[in-house]
Symmetry: C2
Subunit: 307 residues, 2 copies
């Protein structure tokens, strides 16, 4: 069996998890990681024998052309990065997570993908991603009803970044806590810079539009060690829908997961790297992908085992 | 917008639910029901203004050719019924539920479907069906691990039929009760025929291979009214998986649903009747279908709303 050759773009938390998931799967070969020249050779443990390169051309020169590139850089760079690889005729998978901008990105990458003649999958994490898939399937089962996606308890990357960007904040960790009905409270740990007023930071967080509509609890931490002790990767979702099938109401569906956040995102990216080798050109999201395409092995054997 | 024209084959519990779900959806037109001549004109309430016909030719003569036929007869007739419609160039959807025979049926219908140039979806209920899809997605999220599908509490059609087929049994209702780890106990209500020994029936159920490996509780009921009082349509599933994403273990996923059984099966058939108008020729199962294809309306709008 020929393995699927994958290159990883970026080696943050997600990139490290992607390398780990690739090395755990029998049908993948990890060709290497493309990353900033300044970081080359660091984190050898994370790389686990996988070579890193300062550019895609260097990776290709050393290892040949990959079947798929998994993009693990920041979301804001995904449009540019995905187009870069698609234009070279390489399939891409990314975990772009800015919900409001997904439709526009799908349309842009769809053009790039079709003109290159290779498919891509975008927004492939857990939300957007497998949660999106669950929302779609829940609606197919009960077309009339309400779905609540309750996040947490877990660290919100977006909210943490928003607090860190405030003046006087040395570090921050924002925890999302579900309070029911798809609403959330925020628990924010703040390490003020020397001389900055915690009371003032607290007030500015409370008036930030990112936080002002939710119940808020802001706590000061004394040092980086104390911050590190609250910033683990545990996360979860409870998705609930009560609705009707035809005219029959009280159909109750729920999906509950408790997971390590970057590990799950990385694994879904890897499963999508498998799927993207089986799709037609065009830009796909998780609700466009036949689930069996994400699984290793023969389709008919998976039908016999799972259907 | 042109509506999807559907004919329903069979008017048992599932067929009635399918008519109900079709009438509840804005993008479908229910052309009518094909059923045994002897039953024509009965159950006008279930039909709700939908005409029934003794043959498909009569339905077509009166209403024109449907885009899709939803097959709601017994599973054992599905292979023959699906081929009948596919050979006429009509897409089909069915809820064939004999798990062990699904791969063979997929291969047979795949041939018929491709030679007719129209797609079909088979095994489209909740198990097989949306449960199959959940099992596939759970594995894509956590490739290493164990999935348990816990059914119930709810009435098992298969186990009820098995008891009814025993000598001396006038009627029976078998309830499936989950006891954890994907294992189940069976609670069986039996109405013996006049003169039949309940003790003897109980012993024969206990030694039937369909029941002999599970904890069993067999109870006698005195009359059809008492039987009717235990045979409701409530059912459910708790699907649980604990596994790893890459090398990160303790990823915990669960899907829990509490539903009216025939209403959900019927709704999924109708959502699949929409999907089958958007698929390429071939035989598809629920794990082969892009979830968005099951939803009404424009794909990009559904991406904006759900992803």
């Amino acid at each position: 069996m020929s393995k699927i050759k994958v290159a990883v773009h970026g080696l943050g938390n997600i990139g490290k998890g992607v390398v780990d998931s690739l090395l755990s799967a029998y049908d993948f070969e990890c060709l290497g990681v493309v990353r900033r020249a300044a970081s080359l050779g660091t984190q050898p443990l994370a790389l686990r024998g996988v070579q890193d390169y300062a550019s895609f051309d260097e990776l290709v020169a050393a290892k040949g052309k990959p079947d798929v590139v998994i993009i693990c850089g920041p979301s804001r760079n995904v449009p540019k990065d995905a187009r870069f690889y698609l234009e070279k005729g390489i399939r891409t998978v990314d975990s772009f997570d800015i919900h409001a901008e997904i439709p526009k990105l799908v349309e842009e990458l769809d053009k790039a993908s079709r003109s290159a003649g290779v498919p891509c999958i975008t927004a492939a994490g857990w939300d957007p991603g497998t949660d999106s898939l669950m929302r779609a399937v829940f609606e197919a089962m009960t077309p009339v009803g309400t779905t609540f996606t309750n996040f947490g308890r877990g660290r919100s990357m977006g909210h943490s970044v928003a607090v860190r960007s405030l003046d006087g904040v040395a570090d921050a960790c924002a925890i999302t806590i579900p309070i029911g009905g798809g609403k959330h409270s925020r628990l924010v740990y703040v390490l003020p810079e020397a001389g900055a007023s915690f009371a003032d930071i607290k007030q500015r967080i409370a008036s930030d539009p990112y936080f002002s509509s939710d119940p808020l609890d802001v706590r000061e931490v004394a040092n980086p060690q104390e911050m590190a002790s609250v910033a683990d990767n545990s996360h979860g979702v409870l998705m609930e829908r009560i609705g009707s099938s035809g005219s029959v109401s009280n159909q109750r569906l729920s999906f509950d997961m408790r997971i390590d956040n970057p590990a799950l995102t990385a694994q879904i990216l890897v499963s999508c790297a498998r799927a993207v080798t089986r799709l037609a050109p065009g830009c796909h999201t998780l609700i466009d992908v036949p689930p069996v395409a994400m699984l290793p092995g023969d389709r008919m054997k998976n039908i016999a085992r799972l259907v």
